[in-house]
């Protein structure tokens, strides 16, 4: 089925469309995370730990927020100060960042106007060291959302090359590759995850942890994909158009990429959409166990692990919910989108409404 046709079918299905819309929004937010976030992820403010979400009010110079004061010296017990507000400045200059990783910029959607030392706007409150949860959530989305895409890309590529080649050539190479795949699949995923993490950790610096996680997740994931693709390429290989290409002397790589790959497209699309949640959850699980993304960087899984803290739970439990909620929405959206795509691509389904 052609990609354009798949999209046209998708437009007719509200659930698929909504899921796709939600995901597009999330990825756009991740792309503009630095612009949308008022503070860097690592900037602490030890004066204001466990700050509740700042209430927004209307001030003389536009939208603004209240200023809070701690009523209790030992336990965080933040109360708004009467008649004292700070106004918000739109498109203001803030900390320096690099848009898309290479364009230097320092414009942010909003900042506090003429803020004094320590004045902050905490849309979702602050954590134990006074870092802005909202900013961390946004920056964390970059890690959590791209890990799925990066992981599945590597997985599908390796799976396609190994599975496609062994299906295409058959014989001994096929035998060896498939036994190796079965070996990988026989090891329980979580133990493999943990042991790979332990084995590979020395080769990565802590700020490269992101790549390490992608590599680990992809190394676990490719085996299953390779098996399925091998079976499919085995059957496509027997089709006369592949023989036609062989008979005219087409090279193996071109047959693999021009003839076999496009015919796997529908399957790969569905498989990718349905497996991305696995990667997002995998990262969350690793970070939750403290083996994934390291402080002071942010990811949804890491933020969730901080939320285990009893103190957090007592004073600021809502911000614990936000990364969990974000993971939940993303995973649901990917699954619904994948289901819809499978309905569209499934030949059985097509038969029922053939015209």
């Amino acid at each position: 089925m052609q990609p354009r046709k798949i999209f046209r079918e998708l437009c007719k299905r509200p659930i698929g469309m909504i899921s796709l819309g939600v995901l597009v929004c999330f990825y756009l937010i991740a792309l503009f995370a630095d612009f949308l976030a008022p503070y860097p992820t690592s900037t602490q403010n030890l004066d204001k730990p466990f700050h509740p979400p700042t209430a927004l009010t209307w001030t003389s110079s536009g939208l603004g927020c209240k200023v809070y004061q701690n009523a209790d010296a030992i336990n965080p017990d933040w109360k708004p100060v009467k008649n004292e507000t700070r106004s918000i400045q739109w498109f203001a200059e803030g900390y320096d960042y690099k848009f898309l990783g290479f364009i230097p910029a320092n414009t942010h959607l909003f900042q506090l106007k003429d803020s004094q030392e320590g004045d902050r706007i905490y849309l979702l409150g602050s954590d134990s060291t006074g870092r802005d949860v909202f900013s961390r959530l946004l920056k964390g989305s970059q890690v959590s959302l791209t890990i799925g895409i990066a992981g599945i890309s590597i997985t599908l590529f390796v799976g396609f090359v190994v599975g496609g080649l062994s299906g295409y050539f058959g014989g001994l190479s096929d035998f060896v590759a498939m036994r190796f795949v079965e070996f990988l699949m026989a090891i329980p995923g979580l133990y493999l995850l943990l042991s790979l993490r332990a084995a590979l950790a020395p080769y990565f610096k802590s700020d490269q942890m992101f790549y390490l996680i992608v590599v680990i997740l992809a190394m676990i994931g490719w085996a299953g994909t390779a098996r399925v693709i091998r079976g499919m390429s085995l059957s496509i290989r027997r089709r006369p158009f592949v023989q036609a290409a062989e008979s005219m002397g087409q090279s193996t790589w071109k047959i693999l990429f021009q003839h076999i790959l496009p015919n796997l497209f529908s399957y790969l699309l569905v498989a990718a959409t349905l497996s991305i949640p696995g990667y997002i959850l995998g990262e969350a699980a690793l970070s939750f166990l403290g083996l994934g993304i390291q402080e002071p960087a942010a990811s949804w899984g890491l933020m969730l692990s901080q939320a285990q803290d009893m103190k957090v739970f007592m004073f600021n439990f809502w911000w614990m919910l936000t990364p969990g909620f974000a993971i939940f929405i993303t995973v649901i959206a990917f699954n619904l989108l994948g289901d819809t795509l499978r309905d569209i691509v499934d030949p059985k389904f097509q038969m029922n409404r053939s015209s």
């Binding site: 029922n352 409404r353 053939s354 015209s355």
Partner: protein
């Protein structure tokens, strides 16, 4: 023949796929009938609506709005469009049986021949006690050698011709009054083809059933069918006794369809092809 009512009577049958502007009219208002014990061949090219007509008899087509069937279909006194689903299911297989072009895809690869025929028997003829004996008898009827042993085979262990024989045995299991054969020999070799056609004639006489043979090839029609119906783009352009139609075709399309078949022993420099524009003009009149 004129005194007894026909077994199958189709009046003003219209079959439309899709709706609105994208609608395709597969069949446009055709009338025909098949008498008891008669063999009727429906001849036409792919896209002429012949297979769709056959499937519409027991509503084997996708339900509306994908496909709409209009018109009257009467089968031995029942108006088919008024039947409930359960009655329709009773009719399928028991009174009207089908055999299709590709025997290899019509048989379920994971069940043995014995399983598949016994399923049909249990469904439509629960009074049969000795199922294995009955299956053996059926397989012998369609001339499968060593039937007792072969019935435990799986479809892939049989050749295409043998598979088609099994399909016929399955169709016969319920003693249908009408056997619809949709291109039963197209996928088979010529020598097998003639054997299967001979078998069908024999069984027809033995069971006194009517056969509706759907084919694109006039070649297998002669010597087999009593009557021929020629379809072209959803219309019946000609029908009549086989020899009459073959020897003296009235419609230019029938003529063209007969002419374009390469005939053994009559070598031509160029094969005759069909001039569709001319025929479309003739059909409109």
């Amino acid at each position: 023949m004129s005194t007894s009512p026909p077994l199958l009577d189709v009046k003003d049958l219209n079959i439309t796929f899709g709706s609105g502007e994208s609608a395709t009219h597969a069949v446009r208002g055709i009338d025909f009938s098949i008498a008891k014990g008669e063999t009727v061949a429906v001849v036409g090219e792919s896209g002429s609506g012949k297979s769709v007509t056959a499937l519409s008899l027991v509503r084997l087509l996708p339900p509306p709005p994908t496909c709409r069937i209009e018109g009257d279909i009467h089968f031995s006194g029942h108006a088919i469009q008024e039947l409930r689903t359960s009655q329709l299911r009773e009719l399928r297989g028991k009174s009207i049986a089908y055999i299709f072009q590709e025997p290899s895809t019509s048989l379920n690869p994971v069940f043995s021949i014995h399983n598949q025929i016994s399923e049909a028997l249990l469904l439509h003829r629960p009074e049969v006690r000795e199922i294995s004996d009955e299956i053996e008898r059926l397989l012998e009827l369609v001339k499968i050698p060593n039937a007792k042993k072969r019935m435990h085979d799986y479809p892939h262990q049989l050749s295409g011709g043998m598979q088609q024989r099994v399909m016929i045995a399955m169709a016969l299991a319920c003693r249908p009054k009408l056997l619809v054969a949709d291109e039963p020999t197209t996928a088979l070799d010529v020598t097998i083809q003639s054997e299967i056609m001979e078998l069908l004639v024999e069984l027809k006489n033995e069971f006194k059933m009517a056969i509706m043979l759907i084919t694109h090839n006039f070649g297998i029609v002669s010597g087999f069918a009593d009557r021929v119906i020629v379809m072209f783009r959803g219309n019946i352009v000609e029908q009549g006794p086989t020899q009459e139609v073959l020897n003296n075709p009235q419609h230019p399309y029938t003529q063209a369809l007969i002419d374009c078949i390469p005939k053994l022993g009559k070598k031509q420099e160029r094969l005759t092809t069909i001039d569709y524009d001319k025929i479309s003009g003739a059909t409109q009149k």
